[in-house]
Structure formats: C-alpha cells, structure tokens
Symmetry: C2
Subunit: 308 residues, 2 copies
C-alpha cells in the first residue's frame, strides 16, 4: 500500500456560524487532511504536535482510520494549538477571535522512520520552515510533494515560504493568495509565474466557484457543488487537499490526467465537510455517499457538443 506523510496542525477549534456555535472541538489542517485521505487505500501518518490536554478519544478517532499517529508528538505540560473564529452571514469571510499557538511555538517535526520513503508528502498549512524540515527528512524515493499555504506566511515569512515552494511539485492556494504571491491578477499568468518558483502543478482553490489545475499549457476547471446551505466551511480547503493527496497516493499515478480526477475527489469530499460542524460529517462518509457525490459532479459538468 502507498504511504502518505501529512504535516499540519492538530488542534482545538471553536467555531461560530450564523447557524450555531461550538465549544472546543477537534480541528486542525492535518486532522482534516488525514480524515479525508483515509477515504482511500493508503497508509498515512500525521506529523504534528499536541499538548497533554488533547483527549485520547480524538487520537483514537485518527488511529481507527488507519492513520499512524506515532509522528504526532504529545508534549507533557503543553497545551494544544487553539483557533477560534466567527463566520459572517455569507460564509465566505470570517473573523479570527483567538489564536493560541501553545505547543506549536516550538514544534520540531519528526517523520517516523517507516515513512521516510513515503510516496506522497502533503504539507498542510504551517510555518514554511516546519514544512521544509519535513521535506528534508524524506528519502529520494518520494514521488510527489504537495504544499498548501496561506497569505499569513506571505505576509510574515515570505523568504522561508519561497524556499519551500521551490522544492515542491504541487502548490495549492486560493485565488486571492495566488494574486498576492505573484502580483498578477490573471490566474493564468499567476500560475505561469508560480511554475518559475518551482512547482510544475498549480491548484487554485476558489471556494464556492470550484478549483483550477494548471500544468504547462493545460488547464482543468472543476466546479464546486452548488449547495443549498453551508453549515460550517472550516476545514473545507484541507479536506480538498487531503482528498487530492489521498487519491493520488492510492493510485500512484501523478499525471495531469489523474490529477484532474484527484481534484474531483477532493471537491466531493470538501462538499461533505461543510455540511456539519468541524469534522463531524467527514467522520462518516461511506463509499456509497462518496460515489453518489461523484456522480453529481459528473452530471454537473457533462455536456454534449459536436466537434466533428
């Protein structure tokens, strides 16, 4: 079975939306990535850190999905990273109410020995130097490296960010971040500038408008599923990335063609994520659920045209 290394936060989130609010619940980029990737036939590990306040049942929840947590350090006398946010009515914008780094402040990632020859590395949102450290621990046999990041690191650690961007095969960012990173308004031009920074593939996430995949002169456009209601958007981007990485690792096919399919899997999984608070919906997506959602994506995008 393929191996997937996932790096990112494992955290407590407290979320407020127009539909309700939660106390501290399970969150974090690596959590969403891991749960999403566990939908596929892969062995994965989460390289992360939590405090000793992190409940055993959250760790079990990951282990039970065939996620190796030996790479997730538990700091005694440490507190788990905490994020709290409130979504606006349109669900596309949010205010951060609290960010407590806690154990993340001094995090030194260690890739488990067994996973240093993993097929795929998915670098979830974290300080670029942490992401870089994980890459440096990998053996040359790794076939695909994927980097997710955000504007925060462009504002605060741009030089380090460029170091890690330079070393990965795929960069996934949202449209505004692609514009900020390149200074280009056109996403086509932005993708071309990102190629020059290192990555051969660029995935631009557009939220309710879907995603674009760029490679050389080719472009693929995936829709998002139009939804009647979005209950909680937290983790949707990470769930997308996890589905993308998990599908690619499980198929061991890293071509542009297969990445198109991977993006549809990622989009389908993200469409589940937003249906309930936090990771709740992701914890029980059945194969039948996923297949039906993929059918909806097919119907959503299929058209007939004579090009003879």
């Amino acid at each position: 079975m393929s191996k997937l290394v996932i790096v990112g936060t494992v955290a407590f989130d407290a979320i407020e939306t127009p539909f309700g609010k939660t106390d501290k619940i399970l969150g974090g980029a690596a959590t969403y990535i891991g749960l999403s990737a566990s939908q596929f036939n892969v062995n994965s590990t989460i390289v992360s850190v939590v405090g000793n306040d992190f409940p055993q049942n959250y760790l079990d929840l990951l282990s039970n999905r065939n996620i190796d947590i030996s790479g997730t350090e538990i700091v005694s006398n440490g507190k788990t990273f905490f994020w709290s946010g409130r979504y606006h009515y349109d669900m596309n914008t949010r205010d951060t109410l609290a960010t407590e780094l806690n154990v993340l402040a001094d995090f030194n990632p260690v890739v488990p020995q067994d996973y240093k020859n993993a097929d795929v590395v998915m670098l979830g949102n974290l300080h670029p130097l942490v992401q870089l450290s994980v890459l440096e621990q990998m053996e040359d046999s790794t076939k695909l490296t994927i980097l997710d990041t955000m504007n925060f690191w462009m504002d605060n650690a741009l030089e380090d960010l460029h170091k890690v961007i330079n070393k990965v095969d795929v960069l996934t960012i949202n449209d505004e971040e692609a514009r900020q990173l390149t200074g280009e308004y056109s996403l086509v031009t932005a993708a071309r500038k990102i190629y020059e920074m290192g990555p051969k593939f660029v995935v631009i996430k557009k939220g309710e408008h879907g995603a674009l995949l760029f490679h050389e002169n080719e472009i693929f456009s995936a829709p998002a599923l139009p939804l009647e209601s979005v209950f909680d958007p937290t983790g949707a981007g990470d769930t997308f990335a996890g589905g993308f990485a998990g599908y690619l690792a499980s198929t061991r096919d890293y071509s542009f063609e297969n990445m198109k399919t991977a993006i549809i899997y990622g989009s389908a999984l993200a469409s589940f994520c937003v249906e309930e608070f936090g990771t709740e919906r992701l914890q029980h997506v059945s194969d039948v659920d996923l297949k039906n959602r993929l059918k909806q994506f097919k119907e959503l995008t299929t058209f007939d045209i004579e090009l003879s």
Copy 2:
C-alpha cells in the same frame, strides 16, 4: 430557418480600461446579442431605436450579418443612447461616467409583422415595460422567451420587472442580482425562489467563474475560459445571452440537455468578446475559431472517473 426576436439597446459606448480608451463606438445589448446570435443559422431581427446620428455603416454591419433591422426605429432629430464607463484594474468593477438615454426615453418597441411568429424571443436589458410590450406583440407560436435584466431595474422598477419575469421561460442574471432579487445567499435556494416567480429555467452568470443553469432539481455548471488578459469586458454578458439564444433557436431544441450545450456556446462567444474593444473581435469570429474555442471548453472540463 428559425426566427429570433432580439430586444435591447443599440448604442454608442465610450470605454476606458487600464489598456486604453475609445471614442464613441458601436455598443448596446441588442448589438452584442445580435452579433453573437448571428454565428448560428437563424433569421433574427433587432427591435430597438437609434437617433439620426447613428452611422449607416453600423446599421450595414448588422444587416450584413443577416440581422433584420426593420424593427430598429430611426428617430429623426433624435440622438442615440450613449453610455460611457471606466473599468478598474481588476476588470470586474467599473464606474459609469455617463448615461444619456436620448431616444430610449420614449421608446415604443414594434415587432416586425414577419417576426411575430418567431421561435425565440431574447429580451435584452431594457426597461421591463418595454420588454413586456414586446412579449405582448408575439403570437402564441413562440417556443421560448428569455429575459436578461440587471440590478438597476430591481432598484427602480421592481414591480414592472416582476410582471415580465412572470411571463418568461428563462431568466438570466448575475449571482449578485440573483441574491438581490430573492434575498437568498445560496444560489440553489435563489433559483428555487425564481422558479416560483415564473421562469422554469434560471441561468446565473458568474463572470470569470462561469455560469450555472438551474431547472427543477438539476444543475449544470459551466466554467469560463481562464484568460491571460481581459481587454474589455463590455458586452460579455450580452454576447453570452446571444450565443445561448442563437444556438437554441437554430437547433429548435429547448430541453435542459440542449440548454447545457447552449451555455457552452454562449461562454465560448463571450470569451472572444473580451479580447478586443467593443464588438471588434465579435465581428470576425470564424467557424474554425469557434470550434477551436469549444474544444478548449471540452478539454477544460473533461475528467475520467470510475463510477461502476
């Protein structure tokens, strides 16, 4: 051959973009709709009004594309409708610099006798009562009526707008307008509310993010072609509507399936429109150009997925 009635402005536009500016050039919703629809095998007429300042060569340009202009009144001693606007750097927002209604102020549309039994009516952006008057002149044999409108009429003539919305088969508006018209943020819910107002089909235009087609419980999502540069967005929405209407009229198939194809044709034609100022690019789109563009749309959206 099918017949298509087009209603809308025929106008002078003066356009400023970050790339340059024009003097008064040929513009107007009906002009773009007509040029776009003339790409298909249809007889069309433009029901509109101009002043005697409107150049004969602009009228010839329309006639030469097999567009009947006997329904376009020329008011002696009248001045043609004039619009002037300046686009911002992102090309998604613009300021209106001038709007001179001129002959539009007292426009009484008259559908040519020959076109009262037209197959399709495309009501381009104009006062809802003018659009309604055209509908009332049509015979019962008309198969499809399509309405395009904008937020201006929602703000200033909502009651009249509802009268015409109630009488059409298809409503095309942009995403913000759909939200304004229905008070619903979710476009799925908005489309459902619009069904209750009359139309059985709803097309939501999302500019660079493509378009959505809603009918009963079905949804189709069309991408926009990612472009390296948008030279002038003026008329893109009207060009889209013209391609949509022209394709449907020429095929005489008004099913949801065929509307999906019509939306791709409309999107492809709109992608030409923005490449040059005003109608310049639209005036010389060859069949080969169009076919190549349609191929790009096919490549952009095609993915392989096993759903056995």
